[in-house]
Symmetry: C2
Subunit: 417 residues, 2 copies
């Protein structure tokens, strides 16, 4: 008998039929003797519908009220799923974030979980109930409803799994697992059997949308074993854990692409100590996440530097920098928004020299210019113009030996969904 957290995304509970299928899956798990805590996202388009409604009333609504609005999406799906499970003769109870004891910092729209008190969850489990928790939401210490930002339901699932010391956290989604790259771009992409937290973290940060990076960080920190699998079939998924086995001869495990990249360049900045700190503190205060930062050498006492942000944060970032011009003087502010970041990831990379050089080679052979580069022990990222994205991914997938013959023959992973 195991204690399992099962998380179902919005497309898995998109309508009544799908919800019934999920309820049956939960019932099976329960009948196999497991104790189950379920985390659920809002049904299909609910969140988008609510956002559309809000836009008719206020184009820049207060973040607090937006959180108040959007949390209803998960609350609707959790109570409906609870009804569906109950209808199978299995007692189930649903909890909002605050009922589940999920405390977050007092920030709206992308709060971090600060603490979980699973008292009510554990007591309901002891009563033999399936516990269904609304993903994506929590409560701040001053009683405000908060949301965890994009992919927040994954984070809820992993954080709950850690808090109740679950044996496994299953992330049910609309794909079979983690692939070497996006199967929509590379037909012969292959599903990974296992992947390490670090590799998954890089992939997630780099735009592999299946798991949210914060969820993976949490899983790594608390050593929560994750399985990513499809809610539409019973195929084995991908196991994400601390020490994934390396496949023989595989240096690069996956290729990821973040399509939401903008570059902002501040040109002719006076080279004084503390300037960089001023800029990035101001951005952090406005909750703008900065990814790659590149500074040029100093010439005539002036320097240029560039950084990337989410494309959706670009306007905000520019405004922040314009607002601190009295403090940080510069000559020009430019931005480029039509960019993507392509990354190769692999735990084997650290002991294999030349991996990065091969990437630059593949890209430049296609006549594409690399705008920024960033590396870590297990990944290399290149920022390029978005128009060349697919060609580069396909070429890299082949160059690093990731194409699988059999799968290419049967027509790619679409068939296996």
């Amino acid at each position: 008998m195991s204690l399992i957290v099962m998380k179902f995304g919005g497309s898995s509970v998109g309508d009544a039929e799908r919800m019934k299928r999920v309820a049956n899956r939960i019932a099976d798990s329960k009948k196999n003797g497991h104790r189950c805590v379920i985390v659920v996202s809002a049904m299909g388009d609910t969140t988008d519908d609510l956002i559309d409604l809000s836009k008719q009333l206020n184009l820049s609504p207060p973040a607090r009220e937006m959180d108040m609005l959007l949390t209803n999406g998960e609350q609707i799906s959790m109570s409906l799923l609870s009804m569906a499970v109950n209808s199978l003769g299995i007692p189930a109870i649903s909890f909002t974030g605050w009922q589940a004891g999920i405390t977050t910092e007092a920030v709206h729209s992308k709060a971090r979980i600060s603490d979980i008190d699973p008292k009510r969850i554990l007591s309901a489990l002891d009563e033999g109930k399936v516990v269904i928790v609304a993903g994506f939401q929590g409560i701040s210490s001053d009683g405000e409803v908060t949301t965890l930002g994009r992919g927040g339901s994954d984070t809820t699932a992993v954080a709950l799994a850690a808090a109740i010391q679950a044996d496994l956290c299953e992330i049910y989604t609309d794909v079979d697992g983690i692939y070497s790259t996006d199967p929509r771009v590379v037909k012969c992409a292959r599903k990974l059997k296992e992947i390490s937290y670090d590799e998954m973290l890089e992939l997630a940060h780099l735009g592999a949308a299946v798991l949210h990076p914060r969820a993976v960080e949490y899983a790594k920190h608390y050593n929560v074993q994750l399985v990513v699998r499809s809610s539409f079939n019973h195929n084995e998924g991908t196991l994400v854990k601390g020490d994934a086995e390396l496949e023989q001869g595989v240096v690069v495990n996956g290729i990821a692409c973040d399509k939401n990249v903008a570059r902002i360049s501040i040109l002719g900045v006076a080279d004084q100590p503390g300037i960089l700190a001023s800029v990035f503190t101001a951005l952090a205060n406005e909750n703008v996440n900065v990814d790659i930062i590149v500074q040029s050498g100093v010439q005539n006492g002036k320097a240029d530097f560039s950084f990337t942000v989410d494309r959706t944060d670009a306007d905000k970032a520019i405004q922040v920098i314009e607002n601190i011009r009295t403090e940080v003087s510069y000559e020009e502010l430019t931005s480029e928004r039509d960019l993507v970041k392509i990354s190769i990831v692999g735990a084997g990379m650290v002991s294999n020299p030349g991996v990065a050089a091969k990437m630059f080679d593949v890209i430049s052979n296609q006549g594409i210019s690399i705008k920024m580069v960033s590396t870590s022990e297990i990944k290399v990222s290149c920022v390029i113009h978005s128009q060349s994205m697919n060609d580069v991914i396909i070429a890299l997938h082949t160059a690093y030996g990731l194409d699988t013959m059999e799968q290419a023959v049967v027509g790619g992973p679409q068939d296996r969904r």
Copy 2:
């Protein structure tokens, strides 16, 4: 400067356009210097849509989960309305039932408010904000989300008005005020300028759907002045208060009709002490509200008795009585569901003999049989078959001098909506 509670029903916030209109109305009140607490119902069909969804998953869902589901309706409308008010440059904040400090008894689907701690509301008012509270919901002392049953948002509004000692509680709805009877049935029904709590209570209990009886009880108990008015125009509404002025010569103020009546008869019950108590305790334990009770005289040691319940509770009531057959022996259980209860209400009735006799006369002159009768100091109710309902109401309206000539000439109250 007054402190005002304004309650808007579901049709008043049915879509984005209506919600904007409500936001403007709130803004006007705020600009006139009032401090405003708003109570809002779910948008138009939201509640019905949620119920439909739930039925696809579970035909008899647990009441707790139903409360979890339905409370989202009000939470969606409160946050959207808050956004709409904010967009007019007026700071607004929305609160769920638990955030507003509304504690109820631990019953689902029709809980009573047990306490209100308006700390957060008052502090937001002190910050100059418009406070928007979700109607219909509260929290039990063990942290469960509860709902107040039909018309619960009216109760929320009045209870809040009492808790914060508001100067006035305005109930905005889709009609202009309280009418002498349903203007859809009697074209020349007239709008009342004032009505007393007691009369309103009788009318509300008797099926005048504009105000929920529990809300009126609350208003009477805490002496909250209520105004019922339309959210679609600026016409004066009807003031509900302790000592409404009696119009000269008017004995009956209003005629109400409850269309949701079923009669259950228990025949041949052994005449032993405590039998009635057993039956009605069992019904109360299952939350079945009993209205009129009539017992026949005892013959051969056996008695018959009949009572009315909401038609929707009839099956449940029959089951309850069948379940206690070991305890209460009877010969036969019959029911009749196609009934209505028509009532005449008026504070002047107590000092005018013959008012009831006139009612019986009007009904029997139409060849209609009266199935049950119930009276109080300010009302007389007759239960009849539903098919004669409209004829009886029209005849009574004329007989008690309630028809207004001018209004009949201009085509009835529809024109004034």
